[in-house]
């Protein structure tokens, strides 16, 4: 008969997963690029220029504009992004990755995490991918606004 999984094992697994993710970002010092800022850099690297505005980034990340605006300002102060007013609407600005921002992305902590998972057998990698996908899709999604606003602070 198939044995169930007890709460203790599930709790332990979630703690390990949380630690794994926390360890991805080695420094929480204010001078370090923070998780939300990394998400914005990744977004800018991937999305078409016409969607590189604060309102689109906020929608993509499921956040309000305020934390995104603050994070973009921080990235701009570190010359990782720059903003230019749009030709057809000066009130809106398009955000671009600078050369420094592109270089920073080469050191994206997620790349290290991928390298760690890559050391696992292929079947285990696939099981990991499918498990993460199922957790997000089948257990209520990711749009917990309050917790995300907390993370974005």
């Amino acid at each position: 008969m198939e044995q169930g999984v007890d709460d203790k094992q599930l709790i332990a697994s979630i703690i390990l997963l949380e630690r794994f993710v926390r360890d991805i970002y080695p420094s929480r010092e204010s001078s370090a690029i923070q998780p939300l800022q990394w998400s914005i850099l990744r977004y800018l690297a991937r999305m078409p220029a016409d969607q590189c505005e604060v309102r689109f980034i906020a929608k993509f990340l499921g956040l309000t504009r305020a934390p995104v605006t603050r994070a973009v300002a921080k990235l701009e102060s570190r010359t990782l992004v720059c903003q230019r007013s749009n030709a057809d609407d000066a009130r809106t600005k398009t955000i671009y990755l600078t050369a420094s921002g592109k270089t920073a992305l080469e050191y994206d902590p997620v790349i290290d995490a991928v390298a760690r998972v890559r050391t696992l057998p292929v079947d285990t990698q696939r099981a990991f991918i499918n498990s993460v996908r199922s957790i997000v899709l089948e257990t209520g999604g990711t749009n917990n606004d309050q917790s995300k606003e907390d993370i974005a602070r």
């Binding site: 977004y43 996908r133 997000v136 999604g141 749009n143």
Partner: protein, 127 residues
Amino acid sequence: MTNPKRILLVEDDAAVRDIIKEFLTSQGFDVIEADNVDTAIAAISAHASFDLAVIDFLLEDTTAISIMDALASQGTRIPVIAISGGNETIDMEAIQAISDISGAVTFLQKPFAKEALIDAVTAALHA
């Protein structure tokens, strides 16, 4: 004369689907449309092959994962452009990640410009 590239378009919002179909058709593509998982899978079974698929990742009450699996089972790797406007329970970053896991080559956040779509289509067909 070469045959036009055939695109499977899956979108449950009729207005959005019509706009995308009209645009892609005007660009010379043969567009086969579907509005849900069942009609999409029927279209995949009925047509010999697709060169590309443009799929709304969040359909009315499900995701497009089974459509992407059906395309993958055709044998040849058909590039998929996932599109989404998100919903209340899952943000777009997560949808993009899940569509990546499911095999999409590109993700476009709705609303997107026609230029962004044609750029994505051109890049996917030449990848």
